[in-house]
């Protein structure tokens, strides 16, 4: 009886082998289904790999006042061009697949942007007298998205009404003293649109921003920007002094005496953790 079971089992395995063996199973299905790059713009769905980020965006649509950037396609930030240092030629992406196509220079598909690429006080894009008009503001994509701001619905777009054209004054983040006053010409500043008041002399968070710039965890000052302006979870360890030591001296001459503070220093530091939940 046991032998009969064994015979049936061998027959079943052989049958499966005969039927299945002619098929070669690829390790990763779909790897030969190529995207068509011949269209305009970006034809590769960023969301395929970055579904979690796309989900963050989708969640925001449920908010009555859509948070900033939510209406932008990924490419608005991560394939931005005509902007920043070196007359806006710092970033050349791969694009096209026919005449005029570019393989890409500093990057192929996308860049990790610094928040301050768009929001700082220095880079205005190419000068107005440029003949090529490659600044991203001239890209139709940047002039159509956005709803014009709440409460009508949605955030304002950088270059859509009520903003327009080159105008980025409304999205600048100042008050950190990061303006490069030594480079006040060309693409650094549009004449008359500089921001000489950007001293940051009283900014409580300036050291945070400067430390973020020095830290390489994220690009530029992004750690600081993201900590405050997003729902990112943040843990902070504050080391604060709780005591002041004061030395007071009763000084005197032959005819007068007076109290004088001759020493003052902080001490007795204590550390506590703050957690900003996402």
């Amino acid at each position: 009886m046991n032998n009969l079971k064994m015979v049936f089992a061998i027959m079943a395995i052989l049958f499966v082998g005969i039927v299945a063996l002619p098929y070669a199973v690829s390790l990763f299905a779909g790897q030969h289904t190529w995207y068509d790059l011949s269209g305009g713009g970006n034809d590769i769905p960023c969301e395929k790999c970055h579904a979690d980020i796309a989900e963050e965006y989708q969640d925001a649509f449920a908010h009555p006042l859509y948070a900033p950037h939510k209406t932008y396609p990924c490419s608005h930030c991560h394939r931005i061009s005509g902007f920043g240092e070196n007359n806006g030629t710092e970033r050349t992406y791969a694009s096209g697949d026919g005449n005029g196509s570019i393989p890409g220079n500093q990057t192929h598909a996308a860049v990790t942007v610094q928040c301050m690429d768009c929001h700082d006080m220095n880079f205005y894009g190419r000068p107005l007298n440029t003949s090529t008009m490659v600044h991203h503001a001239f890209n139709p994509q940047y002039q159509t998205c956005g709803w014009g701001g709440p409460p009508e619905g949605g955030p304002r777009n950088c270059h859509a009404p009520p903003r327009c054209g080159w105008n980025i004054t409304m999205i600048r983040a100042g008050g950190f003293g990061l303006t490069d006053f030594d480079n006040m010409s060309g693409y650094y500043h549009k004449p008359g649109v500089t921001w000489p008041g950007d001293t940051g002399s009283k900014a409580a968070h300036r050291s945070f921003v400067l430390a973020a710039i020095e830290n390489n965890t994220l690009e530029g000052a992004n750690e600081a920007c993201i900590a405050c302006h997003t729902h990112e979870r943040v843990e902070m360890n504050f080391n604060v002094m709780t005591e002041l030591n004061i030395t007071v001296n009763n000084s005197y001459t032959q005819s007068s005496s007076f109290w004088n503070v001759t020493g003052m220093e902080v001490s007795n530091y204590t550390t506590y953790k703050e957690v900003k939940e996402g």
């Binding site: 790999c49 970055h50 979690d52 980020i53 963050e56 965006y57 925001a60 006042l65 859509y66 948070a67 900033p68 939510k70 709440p150 955030p155 304002r156 009520p162 903003r163 004054t169 409304m170 983040a173 100042g174 008050g175 950190f176 921001w195 950007d198 001293t199 940051g200 009283k202 900014a203 409580a204 968070h205 300036r206 994220l218 993201i226 405050c228 997003t230 990112e232 979870r233 902070m236 709780t242 005591e243 002041l244 004061i246 030395t247 007071v248 005197y252 032959q254 005819s255 007068s256 005496s257 004088n260 503070v261 003052m264 220093e265 007795n268 204590t270 506590y272 703050e274 900003k276 996402g278």
Partner: protein, 419 residues
């Protein structure tokens, strides 16, 4: 064998999971693309998201707990432009982006300012008298050196260390340095009208006294005015003054202040109550459960310090010593002679124990003769010591050598013997 089979199955399971999940890209920091809307009016970014600890301190604060963070840290009264808005009329910010560390005097300087509290009401931040003036006011304001030096030390913004020292639960450790004692000799010329001279003045080596105002250390736990205690920072002085025990010469062993002397009763002290002057330290004893309290008239030690000497209640219709025409913040820096050297001031200040305006004068005549002129030519701290030592010795009218130790030591010697 079973263990080997189990290991194979686990390996296959882990490998399968890795194969299925290895194509997913995980973002390093979740929610970094979930931006906070800043389109509305006011500040939409929660300060307390990162600063719970400070918010908690403020919630336990006697004052300022009605203010939100922005009232102080986005105060625009000093001309700071913060980042605000995101449309027409928006500004990137100049001197600061989100917030600044304010000087206390930003709101409490000048004539004070009006700020909006949590409920939307305008509330007045009162000025800090004397310190709201250019140069922090008069030199008779006892704490002016502290405020002035706080600015110079630049440990925090402006003069804040000085403000925090008294007005918050910030801990303070003082090191008071004084001459350890004073030596001096009184001589009287021959005859009843002989002049007094003060000689052989010497100062002992510097003595350092540590006083700790030990609190929670919280700089955002602000105190109400009636929670500020003089003795927290000046316990050395209170220690010297708080001696009600008799010294056998008609006085007590108290120093720093003279509140009892041998000319007692209504006839003594020029009819001003030698046993019961306004400086009587036992007038606060009942507050601390001590029964030796002839006249329970001060609510606490601070009120005693202030109303009996360093900020007395002034008679608005009397001639008052010039020093009190100046503005002091918490306390005046005084010696006995600021009040007791002119008959014109005899009703300048309110004596709480006596329930009337009453300030005994030390006339430059009679028994005192030139003794006051001699004392007044000496440094301020010695002026008081000459008065107190003389009273403690039994009013010997000058002759003799004294040694007066300084706070917190209350020891005084006359011709080498304790008095």
């Amino acid at each position: 064998m079973n263990r080997g089979i189990a290991f194979v199955f686990i390996f296959i399971a882990v490998a399968s999971i890795l194969m299925f999940t290895s194509t997913d890209v995980i973002t390093l920091f979740a929610n970094q693309h979930a931006f906070i809307s800043i389109s509305g009016t006011g500040n939409q970014i929660s300060c307390t998201g990162c600063h719970h600890h400070i918010a908690d301190e403020l919630n336990h604060s006697a004052i300022h707990d009605d203010l939100n963070c922005e009232a102080c840290h986005r105060f625009t009264g000093t001309g700071i432009t913060f980042a605000s808005g995101d449309g027409t009329g928006s500004t990137p910010g100049n001197e600061s982006h989100a917030a600044y560390t304010p000087r206390c005097l930003d709101c409490h300087g000048g004539r004070g300012v009006w700020v909006v509290n949590k409920t939307g009401s305008s509330v007045h931040a009162p000025p800090a008298p004397a310190f709201n003036e250019t140069g922090y006011g008069s030199n008779v304001s006892a704490h002016k050196p502290l405020v002035k030096q706080a600015l110079d030390y630049n440990l925090s913004v402006g003069e804040n260390e000085a403000c925090l020292a008294c007005h918050t639960n910030y801990s303070i450790k003082f090191g008071f340095r004084r001459p350890g004692y004073f030596n001096f000799t009184w001589n009287k010329g021959s005859g009843d009208s002989g002049s007094f001279t003060l000689s052989n003045i010497g100062y002992g080596p510097t003595n350092s006294t540590t006083v700790s105002k030990s609190e929670s250390g919280a700089k955002h736990e602000f105190k109400a005015i009636n929670q500020i205690k003089c003795e927290d920072c000046h316990s050395d002085i209170w220690h010297a003054a708080n001696h009600s025990e008799s010294n056998g010469h008609g006085s007590t062993r108290a120093s720093h202040v003279c509140w009892k002397w041998y000319k007692s009763g209504s006839g003594g002290g020029g009819g001003h109550g030698g046993d019961d002057p306004m400086h009587n330290v036992t007038c606060v004893y009942s507050e601390y459960g001590i029964s030796n309290c002839p006249n329970d008239c001060y609510d606490n030690i601070t009120e005693y310090c202030m109303l009996s000497c360093h900020k007395p209640r002034i008679n608005p219709s009397a001639t008052i010593p010039p020093v009190f025409l100046e503005t002091a913040h918490a306390a005046y820096r005084l010696s006995c002679y600021h009040c007791h050297n002119n008959t014109a001031y005899s009703n300048a200040f309110w004596s709480i124990p006596r329930g009337q305006y009453d300030t005994p004068e030390f006339e430059h005549s009679g028994g005192h003769d030139t003794i006051d002129d001699e004392a007044l030519s000496e440094p301020l701290f010695l002026q008081a010591e000459t008065c107190i030592s003389c009273k403690r010795s039994g009013d010997r009218w000058g002759d003799g050598t004294y040694k007066a130790y300084t706070e917190p030591n209350n020891t005084m010697l006359y011709e080498g013997s304790p008095i």
